[in-house]
Symmetry: C2
Subunit: 198 residues, 2 copies
Amino acid sequence: MSLTVIRYHRGMGRWEPNAHGRLEQAAIELYIERGFEQTTVAEIAKVAGLTERTFFRYFVDKREVLFWGAGALQELLVKTVLDAPRSEGPISVISAAIQAAGAVFQERREGVLLRQRVIGANPELQERELIKLAFLATALADALRKRGVKEPSASLSAEAGIAVLKIAFQRWVREAGSHDLGQLIRDLFAELKTVTES
Amino acid sequence: MSLTVIRYHRGMGRWEPNAHGRLEQAAIELYIERGFEQTTVAEIAKVAGLTERTFFRYFVDKREVLFWGAGALQELLVKTVLDAPRSEGPISVISAAIQAAGAVFQERREGVLLRQRVIGANPELQERELIKLAFLATALADALRKRGVKEPSASLSAEAGIAVLKIAFQRWVREAGSHDLGQLIRDLFAELKTVTES
């Protein structure tokens, strides 16, 4: 959120403590209880003790409540790639980035699993998630090229990394986060090597 | 298309020779000329010399004109995986399937390139294509499991194969089909091995 937006909220005299978090929590509760389709922004605002107008200060629509973290995730992935030692090869750089993403999911385990319950129940949201993953692959390939990695190595490493993230994450969610996601990711990178060697 | 549907068309007395092909050609011409969003089904039917009603016998909507081949492509991929010799490892089976798909695109080069011009100009259609690719990866992983390949090898090989197809296809389209797509695919599988080994 830009500083301008924060000032605007406060300046309007309607600044509410942790409105973003309260709206998000209310939305996810309602999405799980009634279904995503059946929930309205009015209901979300009411449960959060806020107005619809406040909702739309923080989120474009009710779908964005589930995907607002995608930008920060992309930044983390790109930053990890750009900051990796110059000596590291592309797949090892990508592995570090995917593990950094995995650590964030692991740390926010409960919230992530609730969010996935909502997404898993709605094909349209699942499609949105697939598209976000494809965007992440593009951003990772861009970051690798900035490090001087040539094509097609950059795109292949990026896409392979996102494939690992997708498969590891699906398994982690299926097992309700009982395995360490970072370990699942490391195991899958090792398995990818075995599979492509054969 | 099922036999029932063909019988129905003929039985209605309005059977038109090659209506499917004429509608498809008219649609793609209009999508390129005016843009996908700006084209109506009424215009497509008119250019094809057919009625809107006939259009809706063949296609659910104007988007399906661009994606009706996805089912056949998935069948080809799955069949190639299931028919591969028992001795072949998962990545080599997937490579054969992706090359079979590449051969189909290469054979229909001109039509495929026109279709990609339409998709490339419209973000919503690009998203649709990404989702179709994700479905193909799921179908390939299912087919590998039917051959007895265990997880996560099945999913990893399938996702890696779709990553290769995506990157090879994008390059092939960018170069207007001047390279052989089958060769691009083989080169990328070799590069994938190099990248994951390092």
